[in-house]
Symmetry: C2
Subunit: 384 residues, 2 copies
């Protein structure tokens, strides 16, 4: 297998893009990444997306974006793994370059959620859950996460306010990310008093739906320095699965897919949690941050939320997370999110994170979660 | 790169499976293929599917089927390229094994179209076309193909009846395929008098929607003989794209994606059209058979239909096609179709095609088409 590096990154602002179509968002991220890499040749395009069919009556995004980007003819497909689609597209791109099938590969994550031409977001998101046994009962993703959060508080003796720092940290970090959806700091009091959504989850536990696209260009590390003086090595990429339905899990508070995925990635990279300098978590809801930190080995079971309470998730803490705003404040265009996380880790490793720079960051990790943990994609990147 | 072979094949009957869910169909094909290969270990699962979100409100099929099949934990994703999804899933599986990332990979194509819980088929299929510039105008896939057929007849001076043999051959071959949807031969007169759908396309030009799933198990050729005495080498797999919208093509009667895809596959396999012993075409409509035969180099431009008229597409003809019934008579569960084609080519190369056996078949090819040619996946298999 060949060593693979990211030679270019690109992203659109996350937000409500009423004036830009799905294909245009994808193209803009791709164009920015190609410009960043200084390449004009792309051999294959892998598009991570979850809901284009449900919300904009458009499948077939691989060919659609390839054509719109002037790349007609190249290999192009869409990859779907619910909200884990973005990092799953990177995984496929990695296989293509590592295996020697292609030299220049673009991996895009793209989602357009605000312009709901052919469906509604809550129903569309529920297609990540078990349609026959969860969604049919009326379970939405907010309610699934509310059940998990309530159970976590009960099992481990936490109060709702103990989760506040996940959201506060994300909003603080988004202040310095020009691509983030929200540029508004929040306080512990605002968190405590926020409007309830599905008890115990309130508005400030929840990431917002959004439109956006992010992209990386991959190439063999052997030629990466011809294109950039800041290549970022894809040290590991691993996908693991769990049951779709939460009620089928051995323990609903243990992200087994997250643990297997992290273990595979650590083994592939030859590192452990102590070596990771920053960790982009999938903070769709604050409870997911706690569970992901635990599954990835940064905290013992039931102690993930303690990292937030003790301020260890800040930029100079023990394990900085959501360094550019996370899903909570950068925004969560579902199929694009995994690629935003990867672009942000790359920014950190390239020392381009500005005021949010994690000092001496050498190894960065992202964990992108589909459904309530049924697909988990862990990516480890390394500064060369 | 490692040499890759198919060590097991499986399929469900194609038809209306009112008593089987999407996950059960996928599982049955997977189980049959694992049993055929004699393997119990699967490292990764790639699921080709187009419309699970639109029709049954279920995305996230990778994890869903992995869990249902008792493979919880493994890598699993869904791959989508409209009606080209099935063969695109094989492409991803090939990359995983060829690159050395996995040893035992299952590639499934699955679709459930008759039980339309959350949408209607005609609208859902239109998501393969350009939503903003074709579907919005009311163009369906039947009407797109009707425009192409009318233009072909006009440009090259054919009558509608000249296409009859594509449908007659498919129905004749399906008679001996226990998995086919139709077991009813048709005559030239029935073809000529069939109910019009979108002039000049009638009912017997058109493949039926259906439910079904097909699966192959891939492994390195080096160990394939430990599992089967009839491994089938994946000699080539190639994806190429074209514009989604037919009106954007340089020439609507030339499947440029089909030509590029076939050329890539021939180059990878080191063979040409004259070396191919059978060719599973994507006969969603009879016109597509003609265009695919031309794009793949089996006939000059405007002469594809002549192969049918002259009987050269039969089992002992110059280039046998739709040897197990094709989309027309085996049935067309869209995201599964590409995998059915591959399973059928493998059956021929394993000499298990019974009364439909193409004598001395050594090299077989399949061309799986997404949309009206925007994604074309060409696969070449070889008897070892």
């Amino acid at each position: 297998m060949r060593d693979v590096s990211i030679i270019g990154i690109g992203q659109t602002p996350v937000g409500e893009h009423w004036d830009k179509s799905l294909r245009e968002l994808g193209f803009r991220a791709l164009h920015a990444a190609m410009k960043d890499a200084g390449v004009e040749r792309i051999d294959a395009l892998y598009v991570g997306n979850m809901l284009s069919g449900e919300l904009t009556a458009q499948e077939h995004l691989g060919a659609l974006i390839a054509d719109f980007a002037g790349l007609r003819g190249i290999e192009a497909i869409k990859v779907e793994a619910a909200c884990g689609s973005g990092a799953a597209a990177l995984r496929v791109g990695y296989m293509a370059v590592a295996g020697g099938l292609h030299d220049f590969v673009a991996c895009i994550g793209v989602e357009k959620m605000t312009d709901q031409q052919s469906g509604t977001v809550t129903s569309a998101l529920a297609t990540a859950a078990d349609a026959d046994y969860e969604a049919l009962q009326g379970l939405s993703f907010v309610s699934i996460n509310a059940l998990l959060m309530r159970r976590y508080m009960h099992e481990y003796g936490y109060k709702k306010e103990d989760f506040a720092n996940f959201a506060i940290t994300a909003h603080a970090n988004a202040m310095n990310n020009p691509y983030a959806m929200f540029h508004s700091p929040i306080t512990a009091r605002q968190f405590a008093e926020a409007k309830p959504i599905a008890d115990p989850i309130n508005l400030l536990d929840s990431s917002p739906i959004a439109d956006g696209a992010a992209c990386v260009i991959l190439a063999p590390t052997a030629i990466a320095k011809e294109f950039t003086h800041k290549p970022v090595r894809v040290k590991a990429t691993a996908i693991a699965t769990d049951t779709l339905a939460v009620h089928d899990r051995r323990d609903p508070l243990y992200l087994e897919g997250g643990a297997i995925s992290a273990q595979k990635a650590y083994a592939m990279a030859g590192v452990g949690p102590a070596d990771i300098d920053l960790f982009e978590v999938h903070d769709a809801f604050t409870i997911m941050s706690a569970l992901s930190l635990e599954a990835a080995g940064f905290a013992p079971r039931g102690q993930g939320v303690r990292l937030a309470m003790e301020g260890e998730i800040g930029l100079s803490g023990r394990i900085p997370i959501t360094t550019m705003g996370g899903l909570k404040a950068r925004g969560h265009p579902v199929g694009a999110t995994g690629m935003y996380q990867i672009v942000e880790v790359a920014e950190q490793l390239r020392e381009e994170a500005g005021a949010n720079q994690v000092q001496n960051a050498r190894l960065g990790m992202a964990q992108n979660i589909g459904g309530s943990g049924a697909t988990v994609v862990t990516t480890i990147l390394e500064r060369i």
